[in-house]
């Protein structure tokens, strides 16, 4: 895969070792590798959590929950074993950053797992990669073997008297397994059906034991926080949004790519300066700021800082860091339809609002786009989507509904144009109907 893209504004923290041969443990050690784990071994669990809290690191999977706080929810005493689970089931459309981490710096993931485990006194960790990333399994397994050979994993890690094991595996193709409770089900060898919460995984998780579940980027960031110091890390970002983020720029850009930029980086600048702007002299129409489930922003709404709070204030979400840029030629109904087709395909069918909602929304969007739609469809689409919100066990229903509501709200005219002409104007121009 292509390497990480860089720009003068890039701040390499997570990508500090990318392209430096760090997949080999010897090289990783030369680049300050496993120093963070050694440091954590001298600290109490509370001190480790305190350091992560002080960094203002928030979950990089999409929800942006403060990582240190999440770890602090794990009970100190537990009759059942505790676990750390790394979510590398990266599947939110527009997101391709964790792949780079596993490929370029697998030991950072292992080191992050060790530190997370020390903070809750877990004795076992799991690294779950999406099935499509099969080539990464070889890289991760080699790294895990190297860490065992050095005594950094297994019995008596780093001579500390603590035992800690790590297992790496892949999934087999399922977006929903990127959701934490479905991920645990999958790891237990079952269909990835979500669990109702509470209880939350920090209390009752994998095999019924207290479990930390973090996105791969979050976990891989942890050793860097110990490497440069929590205060330094926090300083890079904005208030309550520490550090950097791997932003995946895609769509209509001159220079799409994955860039590591400070949290809070201006979206407009990200598009026009980092991503090189829109090709072929076209104008910007819209931006999906954080993966396919996040509500679309219009061209007028992009002068915002890319952190969880500022994008939230703008009515969308920072999500998984996947920034999709749409130029003026894009048919928003077609885009909404393609987005829905995905969620309909991925809905597991467990919750009726999601199973039926995504199916009906795909059908309605299809007829608005292809012709055959009726005027009531636009309001029905919105009504259906609004009635899915918050009514499902896992956020997949919301992930399908939220962008749909925004597409209708912000580009209603395009939906109406489709109905007036009974079909997509863009596709009619290309395929004139000869009657």
């Amino acid at each position: 895969m292509p390497p990480i893209s860089t720009h003068p504004d890039s701040v390499p923290v997570v990508s500090y070792r990318f392209g430096k041969g760090a997949t080999s443990i010897e090289r990783y050690l030369e680049l300050e590798g496993y120093e963070a784990a050694k440091k954590a071994l001298t600290m109490t669990p509370d001190a480790i959590i305190g350091e992560v809290k002080a960094s203002n690191l928030r979950g990089r999977g999409g929800a942006g929950f403060p990582t240190g706080l999440k770890w602090s929810f794990v009970p100190k005493q537990s009759a059942k074993p505790k676990y750390v689970l790394v979510n590398g089931d990266e599947s939110e459309p527009a997101t391709c950053k964790d792949r780079l981490i596993f490929e370029q710096d697998p030991h950072a993931v292992i080191e992050g797992v060790i530190i997370a485990a020390l903070s809750i006194q877990a004795r076992m960790g799991f690294i779950y990669l999406r099935g499509e990333y099969r080539y990464l399994l070889k890289i991760m397994e080699k790294a895990v073997d190297e860490a065992y050979a050095k005594g950094f994993l297994g019995k008596n890690i780093f001579g500390s008297g603590i035992d800690f094991d790590v297992v790496t595996q892949t999934g087999a193709g399922a977006y929903e397994v990127g959701e934490e409770s479905a991920l645990m089900e999958s790891l237990e060898g079952k269909r990835g059906i979500p669990r109702i919460r509470p209880p939350f995984p920090a209390v009752v998780g994998l095999y019924g034991g207290p479990t930390i579940i973090n996105n791969a980027e979050t976990i891989a960031t942890v050793p860097h926080i110990f490497r440069i110091g929590a205060a330094e890390y926090a300083k890079i970002g904005t208030e309550r949004n520490g550090g950097t983020r791997l932003f995946c720029l895609s769509g209509h850009l001159e220079r799409p790519g994955v860039y590591e930029l400070p949290m809070g980086y201006n979206l407009k600048k990200m598009i026009y300066e980092v991503g090189g702007g829109i090709p072929n002299g076209k104008k910007l129409k819209a931006v999906v700021p954080g993966g396919s489930s996040t509500p679309v922003l219009t061209a007028d709404e992009i002068d915002i800082g890319m952190d969880f709070d500022q994008v939230g204030k703008a009515g969308s979400m920072l999500g998984s860091g996947g920034v999709v840029v749409l130029d003026e030629t894009v048919c928003m109904v077609e885009f909404a339809l393609r987005t829905m087709k995905f969620y309909r395909h991925e809905s597991c069918g467990w919750c009726i609002p999601c199973r039926e909602g995504t199916d009906w929304l795909e059908k309605s969007l299809t007829r608005v786009h292809n012709g055959g739609g009726v005027d009531k469809d636009i309001d029905n689409i919105r009504y259906l989507a609004e009635n899915m919100l918050g009514r499902t066990f896992c956020p997949l229903g919301d992930a399908a509904a939220m962008p749909t509501i925004a597409f209708v709200q912000k580009f209603r005219k395009e939906f109406e144009d489709h109905l007036e002409g009974r079909g997509c104007p863009k596709h009619r121009v290309q395929e004139p109907v000869g009657v």
């Binding site: 895969m1 292509p2 893209s5 074993p81 990266e90 599947s91 939110e92 459309p93 527009a94 997101t95 391709c96 792949r99 076992m124 999406r130 099935g131 499509e132 990333y133 099969r134 080539y135 297992v167 595996q169 892949t170 999934g171 087999a172 193709g173 399922a174 977006y175 999958s186 790891l187 237990e188 060898g189 079952k190 269909r191 990835g192 095999y207 995946c248 720029l249 895609s250 769509g251 209509h252 799409p256 790519g257 994955v258 999906v288 396919s292 996947g322 999709v324 749409l326 894009v330 885009f335 393609r338 987005t339 995905f342 395909h345 991925e346 597991c348």
Partner: protein, 169 residues
């Protein structure tokens, strides 16, 4: 030792023997086992399902219920080279649909079809995690990114000549 007769290669059988011991419960090995078995056999045949059910100690019906959930798992053979074209949003914006159409015409098969010689199968797939390098295609597990129809032809030609030489997979 654990399983007297196996349909898998000795290497894979050994891997499975180890895999079931790694987790707190045996069943955790199920999803990876199914995928690794499919990689070797080509698909999840009745015999594969029966042996995996036996190894884990669950029913075949339980195994089938898990298989039907995961999109990478299949119970019918695919081509030697399974061409998976992403048409999700990021690829769509950069020509993913056109690329899929191109593959459909070039290979002469519909979605999920297999060519008569069994060399290729084609599938329109959801996001494969190559969004910043779209449009992208996965052939078996290999990624091909920043594609054009012309570049796709070269990719397919490469696999075709591998098939003729009897190498690959």
């Amino acid at each position: 030792m654990s399983t007297p007769a196996t349909i898998f290669s000795p290497q894979l059988a050994a891997r499975f023997d180890k895999l079931v011991t790694l987790y707190p419960v045996k069943r955790s090995a199920l999803v990876p086992m199914l995928l690794y078995a499919q990689d070797e056999v080509g698909y999840l045949s009745d015999a594969v399902i029966a042996e995996i059910a036996e190894r884990i100690g669950i029913t075949e019906s339980d195994v089938r219920s898990v298989i039907s959930y995961y999109s990478l798992l299949r119970t019918k053979p695919a081509g030697k080279y399974h061409v998976q074209v992403c048409t999700n949003i990021c690829c769509m914006l950069r020509g993913g649909n056109e690329l899929f159409e191109h593959c459909r015409k070039t290979l002469g098969v519909e979605n999920k079809g297999v060519t008569a010689d069994g060399v290729f199968s084609l599938e329109e797939v959801e996001c494969i995690g190559a969004c910043s390098w779209a449009p992208a295609v996965q052939v078996n597990y290999d990624f091909h990114e920043n594609l054009t129809p012309e570049a796709m032809d070269e990719v397919l030609d490469g696999y075709r000549s591998q098939a003729e030489k009897g190498t690959g997979r």
